[in-house]
């Protein structure tokens, strides 16, 4: 039995691959694990059947036999721990790859997500333009620190890992803004991530759902 994940029936990102099922699809492609997808409407996500799996009413979930997981970071880590290809074999390298997973989700993503949320929900508010420089400064602080650490390396710590996978999905949320322009090494890092065959397949599969070309 292939593991089963959930995804938006109609993603609010309009097919740009920003919904969090992309992370899980990408991880599954990296390790060569086939999977099934169950699509959910916004209303179904808030119904008891889904809340039993995901108490916060979100996607993605991951079901594999008796195991039910939510939180894209936890699902990616579970996939990385149960398949080869997303974590180094040496204990210290493995711990540092997991560290970058947490850094992506807990240090770099919050200011980026906050800025994106504000752009959607508060664009018409009188204070939007006055608050924006503050929010952008918080994003730039993290981007500049990350850019400095990455330097001219291909990946954050040795070979591509689950830490890079999550970091790239976080940075991709800035596509369509000019905020990455001053960090050429981060732009190259994102491009390098998006050039991976596993990313391309995951991206195409979520786009096919958005375009109505796939029922699964």
């Amino acid at each position: 039995m292939a593991p089963k994940i959930t995804a938006f029936e109609r993603s609010p990102d309009r097919g740009r691959g920003l919904a969090r099922d992309l992370r899980v699809r990408w991880a599954l492609e990296e390790v060569g694990q086939p999977y099934e997808v169950r699509l959910l409407s916004f209303s179904a996500m808030k119904e008891p059947a889904h809340l039993g799996l995901q108490p916060f009413g979100q996607i993605p979930t991951y079901e594999d036999g008796d195991l039910v997981l939510f939180e894209s970071g936890a699902i990616v880590l579970h996939i990385a721990e149960t398949h080869a290809g997303l974590l180094p074999n040496d204990a210290n390298g493995r711990a540092r790859a997991i560290m970058w997973m947490f850094a992506a989700l807990n240090t770099v993503e919050p200011p980026i997500f906050d800025l994106a949320l504000t752009r959607v929900l508060e664009r018409d508010k009188t204070w939007f333009e006055e608050r924006r420089p503050m929010l952008e400064a918080r994003v730039h602080q993290r981007l500049s620190e990350l850019s400095r650490r990455l330097g001219d390396a291909d990946w954050l710590d040795g070979a591509f890992s689950a830490g890079d996978l999550l970091m790239a999905t976080v940075l991709r949320r800035l596509h369509g803004t000019d905020m990455l322009d001053v960090y050429p090494n981060l732009c190259a890092y994102i491009a390098r991530s998006e050039a991976r065959a596993a990313f391309k397949q995951a991206f195409e599969d979520q786009l096919a759902v958005f375009n109505g070309r796939s029922a699964s």
Copy 2:
């Protein structure tokens, strides 16, 4: 050699145990691992020596032999993986405990931290009162979902785990507000966490630093 962590020389939380070294201290106490503490001033945190360990200029870090980690979530997970007491032994229970670690840091903490940050940085702004209900509604959404999932259980999934440890530290940030009042089970959950001997020791140790009673 005991592992060494870093903490604020003078915590901006005024000894309330909200700085992220508390999570690491608590985890180390839970597993009975002695440790050393190196205190850092705000200016030292932004100097090259610390940025070499922690590219985002934050505390805590964790140094153990050749291994250097940052991100409190990753440090707690590393401690949990290398000592008994913070993760279940069965594989599925272990995966779910890690899932709650990510849920604490990536789903529940962001709206709580955002509200706390706004209270500090934007209290005097003209828009503060108008934005506040929106920010509080986001927090209440997560609290109500978490409260419903916890129900009348003692902990989020079976025995106390690293997931509960992180979730409790996230919820404690709401002490001093009235937002938890409508969730008696979450209040009891926090109290149950704070009653643990390991939490008490960790809290006292960070408070001693704030009160200048400890040089280490």
